[in-house]
Amino acid sequence: MHLNRQMQLIENNETALNCGRPWDEISAYHRVILALPPATQHRRLVATGPIPPSCDILSMHERLPSNRRVRVNSGIPANKMATPIDRTAKRVVLTVQDYSLFAHRAVMNLFRPPRYGSEFLIQADIIGVGSAFIVLLSGFFTGGVLALQSAATLSEFGANGLTGRFVGLTMIRELGPVLTGVMVAGRNASSMASELGSMVVTEQIDAMRALGVDPMRKLVTPRLFACISMLFFLTILADAFGILGGGFVTVVMNHQDGFQYFSTAWESLRYPDIVQGLVKPLFSGFIIASIGCFFGMRTSGGTQGVGRATIQAVVFSSVSIIIADFLLTQVLLSLLARA
């Protein structure tokens, strides 16, 4: 019954085990003994040398004396074994499930005491005030680029006067929220993941739990709500500076009428545009903080793990913001008909 089983050495296939004879030299019977858990072993056998890719041993898990772990499958026929695709799919589903539970808990904590108001203010300062400069800079120059590009195109149709309308609507409906989200994700999702990740690997999170404090309430929920609220205001800032940047380019570089630029920008605005532009940052804020904290709190593998968590947080939050923006635009456009 122990034939045709596969054994795989995690880490690599060429490690030498402690002592004894090479794997190739020991009999199938001894391999069976080796595969049994320590308590059931009649005597201790240890093999040396590279482990062959497949080996006739009984299905069991075994921790070898070198602390190299050998995994032996559980007797499932090879054609029914989980493929790498299966395992990846399961891991993805499990991660999504964990994230959903994590985000749900983080939100629900707001409705149950204790609440950490001072932590919220600290995080609001770090996220809001700390990100203001990069947001207004990126907003200003994005508005400027929009004005440059649109003026060049609109002049072909003799519609230079519509630059303000073009820049204003694009900034408020689309670029302001998305740009702010991506900028804040780069700055704050990474800092949340690395800060919480470092706390995890240095056992500070465990220490907090051991001291009777819920890290979800103390660390995650304040970051989540601070990020949502601050992203709202940062987006307004980005919109304003984007329109200003466009105005600067229109007046100083394109030598057009500034009054016309600002009045067309203002007159073309409708409430649905503003609502659309201000609903998106609420979702972006949620995405940034929840993903940043999620990857931070599940960090493992020491300092390397912290680096990995930081990268994952930035990548996943940035991509999620853009995907969410697409979906939200679809929904909001159908809900908020523009007069």
Binding site: E62, M208, A210, D214
Partner: protein, 299 residues
């Protein structure tokens, strides 16, 4: 496996030092388990846990009586820290039950565990101090959460830091402290609310012998002055035996050896091998055991 030892006469195998003039009345019986009348502070029943692989701990059963200090021995990577984290619910077992202060915690929701954890103190392997907070805020962490007035906090922090003889570090940050000082601050943090159980996770790991002795003296002081039950994880036999063969003398303000062959009756031993509990008993039983692994470990 749980023993009640009987050795009333001094044990010549113990590495105790001869020291006349002990203040304690009469010789201490080696390995006499403390009374269990009040019920165990901690009780494990057939506890097992695994992490994506072979079991880390299998079928672990033991208890900690009021006033008892249990020293958990075993080589590195055998599951000692995991066992300690199971005690206050930082980890959940796959099988078995764990009673903490009489409450079954293995399936208790996290929200209900927090109040229980405030009754325990835990000293982590590397101290696990919050590096963005001062020593004062680290030690007072629980008190700050409970919104205790600042004057009261300062007084109690000074008291806790004096206990570990680090009062001068009050306003410093953890990164300006040495490894030994960090452990002592961690002990002060664990003790500030006068817990009903203390868990020490390798408090002397990686420290020099002098600093290790200082830490062990603090553990002993807490054991002998406040009689707080505890579980101490270590792989250093020297520390374990020092705890058994010495007592803290409040008059001298330091530890003193018990008479030759005597051992603290409230300090008992557990030993793990490959995730299984292979020894549970007194120091007397430990040094006389026939278990091959224990003997190899002791040697």
């Amino acid at each position: 496996m749980n023993q009640t030892n009987s050795a009333s006469e001094p044990d010549p195998a113990l590495p105790g030092l001869s020291q006349p003039g002990l203040t304690q009345a009469g010789p201490i019986q080696s390995g006499t388990a403390p009374a269990l009348a009040a019920g165990p502070v901690v009780a494990f029943h057939n506890v097992s846990i695994a992490f994506d692989g072979p079991p880390v701990l299998q079928d672990i059963s033991f208890s900690v009586a009021p006033g008892e200090t249990r020293i958990l021995l075993g080589p590195a990577g055998v599951g000692k820290s995991v066992l300690l984290k199971l005690v206050n619910g930082l980890l959940r077992p796959d099988e078995g039950s764990i009673l903490l202060f009489g409450d079954e915690i293995s399936k208790m929701p996290e929200e209900r565990l927090f109040p229980l954890r405030t009754r325990t103190g835990m000293v982590f392997q590397e101290g696990a101090l919050f590096d963005s907070l001062t020593v004062r805020d680290n030690v007072a962490y629980q008190l700050i959460q409970e919104q205790v007035p600042d004057e009261e906090i300062d007084r109690r922090v000074h008291e806790a830091l004096s206990f570990v003889e680090l009062d001068q570090t009050f306003s410093l940050y953890p990164d300006s402290l040495s490894g030994g000082m960090r452990r002592r601050v961690a002990i002060a943090r664990a003790l500030i609310r006068q817990p009903e159980l203390i868990l020490y996770d390798s408090p002397t790991g990686g420290l020099d012998p002098v600093t290790s002795t200082t830490i062990i003296e603090l553990v002993m002081k807490e054991r002998d002055v406040y009689r707080t039950p505890s579980i101490l994880v270590t792989h250093r036999l020297q520390d374990a035996f020092t705890l058994s063969t010495h007592r803290f003398d409040p008059d001298q303000g330091s530890m003193v050896p018990l008479p030759q062959g005597h051992a603290d009756p409230n300090t008992t031993y557990l030993m793990l091998e490959e995730g299984r509990l292979i020894f549970d008993g007194s120091i007397h039983e430990l040094v006389h055991t026939d278990n091959k692994f224990v003997r190899e470990f002791l040697q």
